[in-house]
């Protein structure tokens, strides 16, 4: 499969989910787990650009597909604006739910460059956080929206 833009080959026990293969066979421990049953969202990754729960995806089903994890968010040596915003605005406290929220938010912004607060809430409604109360997370996403727009304007 393609992992964060690079092709990888990996051998793994066939009963493993994508979550387990990422963490245990590919050394990408950025993606976390809180329940392994699809009930918390901590294992979210992007599969062919869409947020899914990697604990409920068989690794066997990922042949030839495109996976993005938190490790792939930074580009050209720079953090993604979402990462910068989360870091600066207190959106990560213990940081355990953060990778899943980051990739889910990235998918949101890829699809909708200017989401409303309600749309951000809905997009992140599948990610539980026990630390922040979500408010600073929403603000960080909104700040990233502004920063991404600024970057786009600078390019054009």
């Amino acid at each position: 499969m393609t992992l964060n833009g690079e092709e990888v080959d990996v051998f793994f026990a066939s009963y493993k989910t994508l979550l387990e293969v990422l963490r245990e066979d590919l050394g990408h421990t950025g993606t976390k787990h809180g329940c392994e049953l699809g009930e918390c969202g901590a294992c979210a990754v992007l599969l062919d650009g869409k947020p899914v729960l990697s604990c409920l995806v068989l690794a066997l089903e990922c042949d030839g597909r495109n996976v993005m994890t938190v490790e792939g968010l930074a580009a050209d040596g720079n953090l993604h604006p979402l990462q910068e915003a989360f870091a600066d605005l207190g959106a990560a406290q213990c940081g355990y739910c953060t990778p899943a929220i980051l990739v889910t938010a990235k998918a949101l912004l890829d699809e909708n460059a200017h989401p409303s607060r309600d749309q951000i809430r809905e997009a992140l409604s599948g990610n539980l956080c026990r630390c922040t109360g979500y408010q600073q997370i929403f603000e960080a996403v909104e700040a990233a929206v502004v920063r991404i727009a600024e970057q786009r304007n600078q390019l054009t």
Binding site: A13, R23, E24, H28, T29, G30, K32, H33, G34, C35, E36, L37, E39, C40, A42, T69, V70, E71, L73, A74, L79, L82, Q83, E84, A85, F86, A87, D88, L89, G90, A92, Q93, C94, G95, Y96, C97, T98, P99, L102, R121, E122, L124, S125, G126, N127, L128, C129, R130, C131, T132, G133, Y134, Q135, Q136, I137, F138, E139, A143, V146, R147
Partner: protein, 844 residues
Amino acid sequence: MGFGRHMPKQKEWPDLPVKDSPADAEALRVIGVSRRRIDARAKVTGQTRFADDISLPRIAYCKLLRSPHPHALIKRIDVSRAFAHPGVYLVLTGKDLPIRYGILPVSQDEQALCTDHVRHVGDPVAAVIAREELTAFEALDLIDVQYEILTTISDPQQALETPEPRIHDYGEEGNIHKRIALEFGNVEDGFAEADEIFEDTFFYEGSTHLAIEQHAALATKDPEGKLTIWSCTQTPHYLHRALAKVLEMPPAHIRVIATPNGGGFGGKSEPFPHEMIVAKAALLLDRPVKICLTREEVFYCHRGRHPVLMKFKTGVKKDGSITSMQLQTLVDGGAYGSYGVASAFYTGALQTTTYHIPRYRFQACRTFTNKPPCGPKRGHGTVQPRFGQEIQLDKIAEKLEIDPAELRLRIVESPNTLTANFLTLGTVGLAECLRRVVRSSGWNEKFRKLPEGHGVGLACSAYLTGAGLPIYWNNMPHSGVQLKLDRGGGVTVFCGASEIGQGSDDVLAAIVAEVLGIDTFDVRVYTGDTDLGPVDLGSYSSRVTLMAGNAALQAAERARAMLAEAVSKRFEVPQHRLRFVQKHVFDSAAPERRVSFPEAICLAEAQFGTIGTVGSYTPPKSSALYKGGGVGPSPTYSYTAAVVEAVVDPVTGWVTVPKVWIAHDIGRALNPPLVRGQIEGGVYMGLGEALMEEQEFRRLPKKLSHALVHKFPSILEYKSPTALDMPEVVTELIEDPDPRGPFGAKEVGQGPLLPVMPAVANAVYDAVGVRIDEVPITPEKIVKALAEKKAGRAPRFGPSHFPPIHWPEALRVPPPWEGGDGQAVNDVRRQKKPDAEKEKVSAS
């Protein structure tokens, strides 16, 4: 809040001041500035190494077999089939780890694996270590255990009525773990003086921490042959001590590394069976052994909020002042002691810290039950009685026809005083918190004025900033920090504190950076490692900012003094003229006379030899000298006031909370976004407890089964609010620095949770006129209460019965204003000098 304003000014610094001015001398450049926390980058790139992220070559995996019975004796265990299963390396049972341990010296009642007595569904009985986790799981089914079923004890009421079989063979008697009776002043006199007396019974359901990170630990025999264990613990020092005891090893040969916790909230603050087990297995196998608990197993570890039944009797004058308060609590302890004795004391200790209570009697009874053990959860034991007290105050305000905010303002305790139970208060910002939430919420325009179905509720609270006494009796510091200063200008902070998400690493770096005039990016922090850092007791009771912070402050000031002396000698200027700003040390009278921070270090090293400083912190001695006075004292207390708006549908009882206003007396916010995050996180967790969280158990029909199981040990069915369920929170900080805290800081990790639940209950009353005197406040309870109201009966839902308990004779401690000295006048045990090691009940 614009993103640009909060970009870290890591590389942009203001120009050097030209002339010295008092303002410049006072100006803080790190403390109080909104900054990216030092561990943020690691967290947002997924590089933070949580316990389950760590792996080593030849790693083996451990799974635990747990009791399926709530109460039973183990007659026989046969592990031979499991041991023979391909891929299995080792099987352990109770006989391999029989030594008892526990977080409190007075309740060392746990075994890593039960030898003969299982006390709740989930109690660990055997451990399989295998090459793959799935193999270990498959082998569990091959272990044969023969149990003899004992009577299931489901709740405190049954525990009181069922002295046999005993869940533990220690404790007061039968299945009563601990009873407490303390009296400060003659409460009956106070009731006689009162114009009105209020008696109310409340129930606070248990809840669990539900940190997203499940407990995990990895143990290994390191290359030198010593034990190293990584674990997501909040208390590496206490784990260190327990491992030494259970493994019968010198602590010097054990290294505990507390990995950054993916949330703790009190659920990871004591030694656990799985930690002992992987340590033992790693030593026996000489290979790394890891365990990661499933979510269900985390529910069985629990150590969460004790369910508490409370009965308040409060006497007041017409003006609202309290003449007397009596509080009785019945505490459901679960199967083991845990922090429970301290928890039981906490169900009464802090009632006196918010409003002046001249006479106070407190009685508590903790029982054992056959459920996962309860322990400390954010707010530790003070949450439940705060719920009761704040609702009762609302009822009092209504009867006396005083506005609830006004009533509280009249009776707020004074700063820097002793309470009836000899707690020494520091700054008390509660009045200002009240005024702020009243103003920001529009309280006066809304309270009792909103249309049917809409309401606002108000509540206050206080919380300690670090327990004044350690868990085990000793005279040593509670926190220590070592600093190393490198010639290149880097500063390394070593401290035993553990980062559980609250930002403690950042606090340490910020304090050091502020004092030395450098940037937090120049500071490296090593925490939670018993080999590297001096002891810090752990991340619990909101102690780290104040205690580790003060230790860091002392170490940094000592380092600064050495550098100042060396620089002063170099320039021949008096030390007091030197400023440490922007990675330079310069003469304030002539700023061109300066050296860089690294140069200053080199000067100091040349003068003194290798530079290193230490700082430590021990809380001031408490005045609560009576037995039981070990729980409650703290260097200072934080205060919070909250207003909650609720919308209640009168037909279905459906409750929503659209908005919360909260003001917190924090002393000083060391890093505003982090402080705000703690407050909003506290509100979040409070709303969860108020509306939907329940650690509830199901007793199957007795004729058909002895089973007592957790109703829903999953993160789906145990309800925690999602992004869609969280209302808007308006946060205000009251900053009146308290000199007891570093730069005046007090706690923020737990206090803001407390007022939320009673504020919700009070808001529901304002909305539809019914009292829900318990949590969670759910639609069907509101519907039932509305039906009662309609039928002309008391418009409430909640407990009405507090069972008769045989209380011991109360220890009588005259309060300060009656000439008391903090000691009991009738403590029989004080006649002979008590062995401090055994007698002292320590705090959490």
